[in-house]
């Protein structure tokens, strides 16, 4: 657009407006700086007291014991476990839904399905936590012996439904952006709708689909209320889905709602866990963007 590249105006009103807008927009940059700096400051305090090797390698997380240990692996394992269970639910269901939205639903129906997903996304996760703890867990306990009241399984299953709309929406967008001509060509060769969906559109949109899954995983890692309510707050190193576990997020909640004197190592540990969480989700988001850029099929 030629006109959008004209010389900057010298009219003071114009300049002032522009400056004001830049000032407002800079708040978003300051937020990022604030997150990084505030976390980093407290994290430095933490690593002045606890060696990095212990944080990364020790196998227990017991900040409140007389002899506290600060090994993050139980929290990582808990996060990984719940996220994995969530993805096992969300990937097949979400992708099937995405294929349906992109390839089968038409007009009204499509809009209605998207509206329903929006509605689903709008439900606060504390509600899902309540549901997982009080409804899903008792039901599962009838089927699975030895299931704790707080367990990774029930939290993970419900988490799968929480991230399902996310997988479905992003993957459907990727499939919808596959050009129509490719579909028509496949139909012209006599392919059935399911063959077009699975063997033409799906591979063509694969980069976007992978990105959708990575983004959903990142969402699951950061999910807090559902996990703190239904999975419990006991950091142990296990991959048994029947066990009570703690994730990084649920530890942060537990520590923040308890009495943590400012300046204690346990207080700084809060930020060390938060920073790890931040780095992990950032890594996932960058990875998703990289996958989209690197493996996108171009059709021009």
């Amino acid at each position: 657009m030629e006109i959008l590249r004209e010389k900057p105006s010298r009219n003071p009103k114009e300049v002032l407006t522009f400056a004001a807008l830049v000032l407002l927009a800079s708040v978003t940059l300051l937020t990022t700086a604030g997150i990084v700096l505030s976390l980093f400051g407290e994290v430095l305090q933490f690593f002045r007291r606890v060696p990095l090797a212990e944080f990364l390698l020790a196998r227990d997380w017991t900040p409140l014991f007389a002899e506290p240990r600060y090994g993050i692996s139980p929290l990582i394992a808990g996060t990984f476990l719940v996220t994995a269970i969530g993805l096992v639910v969300a990937i097949p269901l979400g992708l099937a839904l995405a294929v349906y939205i992109a390839e089968y639903a038409r007009g009204e129906a499509k809009a209605r399905i998207k509206g329903t997903l929006e509605l689903f996304e709008g439900i606060p996760t504390v509600v899902f936590g309540f549901f997982a703890l009080l409804t899903v867990t008792p039901l599962l306990q009838k089927v699975i012996p030895g299931l704790n009241i707080f367990n990774a399984l029930s939290a993970g299953l419900v988490l799968g439904f929480v991230i399902l709309p996310y997988v479905a929406n992003v993957a459907a967008d990727a499939m919808e952006s596959v050009p129509r001509s490719i579909r028509e060509a496949a139909y012209a060769l006599g392919a059935r709708p399911y063959e077009v969906a699975l063997r033409v559109v799906f591979p063509a949109a694969l980069s976007g689909i992978v990105a959708a899954i990575i983004l959903a995983a990142s969402r699951a890692i950061g999910e807090t209320m559902l996990v703190s309510i239904a999975a419990g707050q006991r950091p142990i190193l296990t991959l048994d889905p029947r066990e009570t576990i703690a994730t990084m997020t649920s530890y942060i909640v537990q520590a923040a709602t308890g009495d943590q004197p400012v300046g204690s190592t346990a207080y700084y540990a809060l930020f060390a866990v938060g920073f790890t969480l931040f780095l992990l989700t950032l890594l996932f988001n960058i990875l998703a963007q990289w996958v989209v850029e690197r493996y996108r099929e171009r059709y021009e």
Binding site: A96, P124, L134, A197, V253
Partner: protein
């Protein structure tokens, strides 16, 4: 059969696969809808229960439908053995009356042992004898009614009622209410939007009307995309380190609102940009052709045209922020606040955090209180959602 017929075309088995595939794809949607219905039904069912209660003081009477709270309290106090003068002085003094209402909840029950739709006065120290789910309670209603002892009453309790909405939290599930949390949410959300709307819409206008490309655009876009991916609890840590501790604001409404605002800005930017992008380019070009400056185009032509879309976006963002509990847990919302907040530096709690705290309580009836709280929150959210939908359709313009 020739090879092309085998690959495509006339293969009845493939027809069957095709039909089965199309049907199977609907399953996840049905599953998700079923889960949603189950969740709602379950919450509704949990929010009603049949209870046998023993009044701490007085005979545990019920009162006819249609009486005022004042009249009910008067009769209750008389039934507890106070004299007419004592009752008059207690109800005449506004402070004593407030304390009385704090400790005794006047509720409308759907059914009682003395007939349907009657008021009861539930005291802070009333004792719960039994609590049944709706179906079991109704099945055993006659039996329970026959076995009532002196001072006990049998009620069908809808936990979500008018007095639930106005009461402050309580250690007893019988008298717990969500009033404080509602006001806390109003305060925190109101202040947060006051910060987030100008910043979010300003950023969107900058990105859509001023710098559509170039370095500034790239930096802002990449930053916004990453911010949108940051877990909300990390914003809570930011608020804790920077606003609560760093600025010394303490665990009060203002730092909570600032934290929530930062969380809401990327969401508002996205929705506002969509609204701005929906305004056709021809409108801008026409204005430029008439000699309008960039500021005039942005604020007098594009902004009014995009306003309905932006309002819709802000409402949807607000709905998202109402349900956020995680970041606020870190900036003080987990406190027990037995009064209504009255300034930006008041202590506070918000609806989702209050629900979280109730879910974590040991007494099983707190699950009923939590269910009532969830219903309140979902009700508020659906009102906002339909408002947004209405505005979107009412002001939709085809260019």
């Amino acid at each position: 059969m020739s090879s092309w017929q085998q690959t495509f075309g006339v293969d009845p088995w493939k027809d069957r696969v095709d039909r089965a595939f199309a049907r199977a794809l609907v399953l996840p949607l049905l599953l998700a809808l079923a889960l949603l219905a189950w969740l709602l039904g379950d919450t509704l069912y949990r929010s009603v229960s049949v209870q046998v209660l023993k009044a701490d003081e007085g005979p545990g009477k019920t009162y006819a439908f249609g009486l005022s709270a004042n009249e009910i309290l008067r009769q209750e106090l008389l039934a507890r053995g106070y004299t007419e003068e004592e009752v008059q002085s207690a109800l005449g003094d506004p402070r004593e009356r407030r304390v009385l209402l704090m400790q005794n909840r006047v509720e409308l029950m759907w059914n009682t042992h003395e007939g349907p739709f009657r008021y009861v006065v539930t005291g802070l120290r009333d004792e719960r004898i039994a609590d049944f789910s709706l179906l079991e309670g109704l099945r055993r209603w006659q039996e329970l009614k026959a076995n009532l002892k002196e001072g006990e009453r049998l009620v069908l309790n809808p936990w979500l009622d008018q007095s639930f909405l106005t009461r402050v939290p309580s250690r007893s599930p019988l008298t717990a209410g969500i009033g404080t949390a509602i006001w806390g949410t109003v305060w925190v959300l109101g202040l947060a939007l006051l910060i987030a709307i100008p910043v979010g819409i300003g950023t969107a206008i900058l990105l859509e009307e001023y710098v559509r490309e170039g370095r500034l655009n790239r930096i802002l876009e990449v930053n916004l995309r990453n911010l949108a991916g940051v877990p909300s609890i990390v914003y809570g840590l930011l608020g804790l380190a920077l606003f609560v501790r760093g600025m010394g604001l303490g665990p009060t409404i203002l730092p909570a609102a600032m934290t929530l605002a930062l969380l809401g800005i990327p969401v508002i930017v996205v929705t506002a940009r969509e609204a701005l992008r929906a305004v056709p380019e021809s409108l801008r070009l026409a204005a430029f052709a008439l000699g309008a400056t960039r500021r005039q185009v942005a604020f007098r032509v594009v902004f009014p045209a995009a306003l309905p879309g932006m309002v819709t976006g802000v409402i949807l963002s607000a709905a998202r922020l109402i349900g956020e509990a995680a970041p606020l847990l870190l900036v003080g919302a987990a406190a027990y606040v037995p009064f209504l907040p009255n300034s930006p530096l008041s202590e506070y709690t918000v609806i989702p955090v209050q629900i979280y705290l109730w879910v974590g309580m040991n007494l099983p009836e707190f699950a009923r209180v939590a269910a009532a709280g969830i219903l309140v929150m979902l009700l508020v959210l659906s009102v906002l959602y339909f408002l947004a939908l209405y505005l979107r359709n009412r002001f939709r313009r085809e260019w």
